[in-house]
């Protein structure tokens, strides 16, 4: 039965996340935005110990039995929104298995999952990362040039990856790992591309650069070079066989789970901005009047309501995409719908919020300007706005990549 009510037990856990967001993230938001490449270790340690993020950041635990809520992906989406309401950059930089973990979950064997992910529930804080993007491509992820060549009991990886979220933390600053996408057969196109787990500090893997960015500055974005980097044979996720079907497609399915999370990140930032504007207007004694004729509304009221309803629309699409995953329905179309909508509207919402507050919105005295900078990335990574539109368009038109590209 159609229902939009959250269960009390979920609400309670969300309240906990809200407290973390408000009391642990917001107070250090500005500091780690300004000190771009420094790390809030105290925050990391606390988060790691609390295991508060065990189920956030990657839907890695979805097939594990535990006492958590039934709708696990939905829950992840909800908690992600809450924490990104706190600070999206800090959220992205928090130690956990990250996108690398999501790839292991999507493509690894049961043994690989257990072996590679165990580290994230013990010892010191660790990070996982996923490296697909290369200098010559981003959206066109089938254009991977990085190679993996078999050499006896090893794979030897060569290539350059850029824009790897948490790459520095995963590759060099913790006992984490980087999942690298490389081709085992350049002539096979997409089918030859496989994910490989490269452990931290494996010789031949080095971080050569950490980007300076407009927003989400607390999160490191690394360029990593693989120079005859040798890894064990069984570090290939899934099968090494090059088949025409499956393979790459299965790995792309990772995004069905992660796109709703990115959408939720966007929504968290958007909600932060909207809440800020709402409180601000209340202080100014500006009332938002619902229910009266649209022609009587002030421009401010109209803008505010537009922001509010767009955010809501994006959130409902996101919840639906996550819920579908939880209930075993294929959500590839809906995940892209949510991501495309959320990335776009939150970019617009935060920009509008800055505009509404005039010089105060632009000032670094408040976090609003930061949220506008943080929001924009959601329209870019995990598939740009346009790439998600292509996915939606192909699905509704019944086209493949040949008909629409």
């Amino acid at each position: 039965m159609i229902d939009f009510e959250l269960e009390p037990q979920v609400l309670k856990r969300l309240q906990m996340y809200h407290m973390v967001a408000e009391n642990m993230m917001r107070p250090i938001s500005r500091e780690y935005d300004e000190k771009e490449h420094e790390k809030p270790w105290q925050f990391y340690e606390t988060m790691w110990q609390a295991q508060a993020l065990a189920d956030v950041g990657a839907p890695t635990k979805s097939d594990e039995k535990d006492s958590g809520p039934k709708l696990r992906n939905l829950y992840t989406v909800l908690s992600t929104e809450e924490l990104c309401w706190g600070d999206a950059g800090l959220f992205l930089s928090t130690p956990n298995s990250g996108l690398g973990g999501a790839a292991v979950m999507a493509a690894g064997t049961p043994q690989q999952k257990a072996r590679f992910l165990k580290r994230f529930s013990e010892g010191k804080p660790k990070w996982g990362a996923m490296a697909i993007t290369e200098p010559h491509f981003g959206s066109d992820s089938a254009a991977v040039k990085t190679t993996a060549v078999r050499d006896g009991d090893n794979w030897v990886i060569n290539g350059t990856k850029i824009f790897c979220t948490g790459g520095e933390m995963a590759a060099e600053k913790s006992e984490g790992f980087v999942v690298v996408w490389a081709t085992v057969d350049a002539t096979a196109g997409r089918a030859g591309i496989k994910p490989f787990v490269v452990d931290h500090n494996t010789p031949g893997m080095s971080v050569i650069r950490v980007e300076d960015k407009m927003g989400i500055r607390a999160s490191d974005t690394a360029a990593i070079v693989f120079d005859n980097c040798k890894i064990p044979l069984d570090h290939i996720l899934g099968s090494a066989e090059v088949k025409r079907e499956g393979g790459f497609k299965d790995v792309m399915a990772t995004f069905d789970a992660t796109r709703p999370i990115v959408a939720a990140m966007a929504i968290g930032v958007g909600r932060a901005a909207l809440d800020f504007v709402r409180d601000f207007l209340k202080e100014q004694k500006v009332e938002i009047r619902y229910g009266i004729s649209q022609r009587r509304l002030t421009a401010l009221e109209r803008d505010f309501m537009e922001m509010e309803v767009q955010l809501k629309a994006a959130r409902l699409l996101t919840w639906r995409a996550a819920w579908m995953l939880d209930t075993g329905k294929r959500n590839n179309l809906e995940a892209s719908m949510a991501k495309a909508k959320a990335g776009l509207v939150v970019t617009q919402i935060t920009q509008k919020a800055v505009e509404l507050l005039g010089p105060l919105g632009y000032s670094r005295q408040y976090l609003l300007e930061k949220w506008m900078r943080d929001a924009k990335i959601n329209d870019i990574f995990e598939g740009t706005q346009q790439i998600n539109m292509i996915i939606v368009a192909r699905r509704i038109l019944g086209y493949g990549s040949k008909e629409l590209n």
Binding site: I2, D3, E5, Y290, K312, W323, V392
Partner: protein, 369 residues
């Protein structure tokens, strides 16, 4: 718990109304638009689906089904997929039947509901909107003044559906203008009441199949029993939420219609050697339409589910309706664009949908869930 699945019963209702809408209503839409007339037989057939009588209480001859705003939204969306003019006509009796069932006194229920429980369509209408550019539901200008035990009504209304064929109009008027929503009452006014004048049928850009009229009330005297809800009165804000959700749901159906048509056309029309749907400029328009439709529907459902939980859903329904009004315009405009010059000519329905969509923003309260 969060759930996006319809109940089996809702699915059945959606399917049967949907089948009727796409097979019967859609075919009749252009004719209704051109001639302003809807075949009585089509309306009679639609009535047989029991959309209004079903949710009325058994003791008044109704089906006794639980009235659910979500189910109502599903019905409105399907009818809207067929044609919103015809859909509004089909559901117009609800504008009297549902408020009476929900907020009327026992006497009013006994007096009014039986007629809507029968086998034949009975026209009925609500008079809410007033012909002013800044008309506002919280500042209704039509007045209701106490006159002994009864009331005297004065004012001018417009966009009253089926006014000429209805025996009773439910007229909304302010008994205390200073109180906003809370100061509005509704009165069951027989058409032959002295001082009630129904003017010529209105002419609009769209929604041309739906007969709407202006109504003038000049010192219309009605008895105490006319006031809906008796001494308790009504919850006008809730009724308007129900209306907004209905209109929004109609809009979602309209959007879906335009999308389906444009998508099919774009997959058949070739330009520069490929189907135009293969051009991102068109494919992205279609993708955007699909996203907007789903987003709009979810907003409608969310507002409806709040109503079903007993809340007034004032903010949610307002936002949802405004969202749909804007996105329906965008989506139908895009549909016309996808067809190029062929979208502009009346051979194809997309231009009609664009004209109809424009109506969603202009009207309030001419449907209900």
């Amino acid at each position: 718990m969060i759930d996006f699945e319809l109940t089996e019963e809702q699915q059945m209702i959606r399917d049967s109304v949907g089948a009727f809408a796409s097979e019967q209503i859609r075919k009749a839409a252009r004719e209704a638009d051109e001639t302003g007339k809807i075949q009585a037989e089509l309306i009679a057939q639609a009535w047989q689906l029991g959309l209004t009588s079903g949710p009325l209480p058994e003791q008044y001859g109704g089906g006794g089904d639980t009235r659910s705003a979500i189910t109502g939204a599903l019905i409105a969306e399907e009818l809207g997929y067929g044609d919103i003019s015809i859909g509004f006509h089909i559901l117009a009796p609800r504008l009297v039947a549902f408020p009476v069932a929900e907020m009327g006194t026992d006497e009013q229920k006994a007096r009014m509901l039986k007629q809507f429980s029968g086998a034949n369509f009975v026209a009925a209408a609500a008079a809410i909107i007033e012909p002013k550019f800044d008309f506002d539901l919280t500042a209704i200008q039509t007045t209701a003044k106490r006159d002994g035990v009864g009331w005297i009504l004065n004012g001018v209304k417009c966009n009253v559906p089926l006014a000429a064929e209805s025996d009773t109009l439910l007229v909304y008027a302010a008994s205390d203008a200073s109180k906003g929503f809370a100061g509005v009452d509704a009165f069951l006014v027989p058409r032959d009441t002295a001082g009630l004048k129904i003017s010529e049928r209105e002419k609009n850009m769209g929604l041309k199949g739906l007969a709407t009229h202006g109504v003038t009330l000049e010192n219309c005297s009605v008895g105490a029993l006319a006031r809906l809800g008796g001494d308790k009165g009504i919850n006008f804000s809730r009724l308007m939420s129900e209306a907004r959700i209905a209109i929004a749901a109609f809009g979602v159906g309209l959007m879906r219609s335009a999308f389906d048509y444009a998508r099919d056309y774009a997959k058949e029309r070739k330009a520069f050697g490929v189907f135009i749907a293969q051009k991102q400029a068109i494919a992205f328009i279609l993708a955007d339409m699909a996203i907007e439709i789903d987003a709009a529907r979810l907003l409608v459902w969310e507002a409806a589910s709040r109503l079903d939980k007993g809340e007034d859903a004032l903010e949610e329904s307002y936002l949802a309706k405004n969202y749909v009004a804007a996105s329906a315009l965008k989506v139908t405009d895009n549909a016309v664009q996808c067809l190029g010059g062929h979208g502009y000519v009346r051979d194809h329905p997309v231009e009609m949908w664009l004209r109809n969509a424009r109506g969603l923003a202009a009207i309030d309260g001419i449907a209900t869930v």
